[in-house]
Symmetry: C2
Subunit: 345 residues, 2 copies
Amino acid sequence: MSEKRTEISDIGEFGLIDKINTSTKVRNESTVLGIGDDAALIDLGHSYTAVSTDMLLEGVHFDLSYMPLQHLGYKAVAVNVSDIAAMNAVPTQVTVNIGISNRFSIEAVEVFYQGVHAACENFNVDLVGGDTSSSASGFVISVTAIGAIDKNKIAKRSGAGENDIICVTGDLGGAYLGLQVLEREKQVFLTNPEMQPQLEKYNYIVQRQLKPEARMDIIHELADLSVVPTSMIDISDGLGSELLHLSKASGLGVQIFEDKLPIDKQTYDTGHELGIDATTAALNGGEDYELLFTVSQDDYEKLKLHADIHFIGHMHKESNSSIMQTKGGNTVPVTAQGWNHYKNE
Amino acid sequence: MSEKRTEISDIGEFGLIDKINTSTKVRNESTVLGIGDDAALIDLGHSYTAVSTDMLLEGVHFDLSYMPLQHLGYKAVAVNVSDIAAMNAVPTQVTVNIGISNRFSIEAVEVFYQGVHAACENFNVDLVGGDTSSSASGFVISVTAIGAIDKNKIAKRSGAGENDIICVTGDLGGAYLGLQVLEREKQVFLTNPEMQPQLEKYNYIVQRQLKPEARMDIIHELADLSVVPTSMIDISDGLGSELLHLSKASGLGVQIFEDKLPIDKQTYDTGHELGIDATTAALNGGEDYELLFTVSQDDYEKLKLHADIHFIGHMHKESNSSIMQTKGGNTVPVTAQGWNHYKNE
């Protein structure tokens, strides 16, 4: 390999920050002052400011043996933008802190920031701050996203009403099955390093895991249609867990229908191949970063022809009863079996 | 030890977040929505929003063998509040992300958050978000602070004018020498675990290292005196490095006087004992989190009797010349020799 490798110690922290600064563009008028002072300055006028933050840790949230650094930078921004979207807000700024060990070169950090910048461009947000630290071990990322929202358009978790229709965007379960495929290929590689990964037929679900998108397109379309969701959350831990968050916050029960869950054919087929039920992947897999929201029945007409919004059930008044009607006609409770990183495995 | 120890896996991430939520109070009217939704909501009306973020990593920024977890929680908030103060802004909200390994119990995390809450109370800010993750190794903290500031009261790094007076608050070099004392006692302990640390005579400087304060008192006093600094920065990397930031951003040179540097007697005495020049500690030590700012000569009368603001020099027009006049009457260049975590040691 003759690729250039510059040690971070060669240019120091300030040199590294300079490199990041010079590759940063400003896109929002509200960004009064970006990187380079003690704090960024943001002018949001009369709206509310939404703030969301998330940490991603190597070995817990991502595995660099199959996660390209550029995708990692993209994903770190996208998952925070997704949280801002889930308030029905429009993201405007992000800050990115990273901790990196000596095993990463300047070039590796630059590739990571290429992903950060690509996400900033795609979601129209400004990178306005953050620092870089050395880490004793592993790659650590913490992102904070800031957004603006009209005071009368907020979608909290708590606003769902009785008989409101439960909607999800996109399709579910793919990111989880994509991760299973990547894990399997990694094990094959560890056993026989000459084997090349066979990922072509899993392209869609692998992409769902490695480069998730925040559904800002849906937020803008809802605004165009004058639909304000009565409640909303993004699907990071799995549909089941998120449904229970809406149920608890809104004080209502949930009824969904298994045959209404949007699941891609590649997700089904891969689930079948790996012996994982696609419905289980959709309910518990997580990391799809689709939006789960409720709308008043009055808004159904405006949304019914939208190709990427799916109606999976409704809210009901029995707050202790959150259930799914299966394809076989049975009724099963909705449960939160999302990730629990703290369990000893 | 019969202290209670609850494993984090016993209550899970949601249980841990619930524990943090229920111990969180809201102090600012601008906090419309705090922890518990996808994002916090903040209403800052007509002012600018200042945003600052910092990451603290175990083994790089702190050593848990002498850093009590409660102090760590306090410091993590204080250093971000200090960045907001350095814009002449008033902090209103913070988010706190932590990554923790299995070696920490629920009780340990609660003690950390006691420190977070104590800092929130002291600096009158609201904890509005953040997540907890497991970490493959070590304790990782990332804090983002948000503040508000009148548009005409901002103090950037870039506003200093020719002949403006250079001011620093408090005293310098103590946090660095406190760290040297803690490191020495750690080595003694590792050699002979029966030795108890002898820290009484170093109480002040050890406190400077372990529990630094953000100088919000100064920000409020400057407002009361109707003084808006022409430029400002907080001293995290050392006075020399921060002076050069002001110099570069403002396009002016700096002249300071060694005999004007505020240094506490305990800092002098400990420097003498350890063979470290106190002026060097003040210039390069860092982590004092005092404020360095410039004011117009017209404002000198308003500040001259302030017991905790010290006038150490002035800005001049030769932008390539930043110098210190020593006690011996010599002139030496001001340099940035702050921490470089990336150097292989």
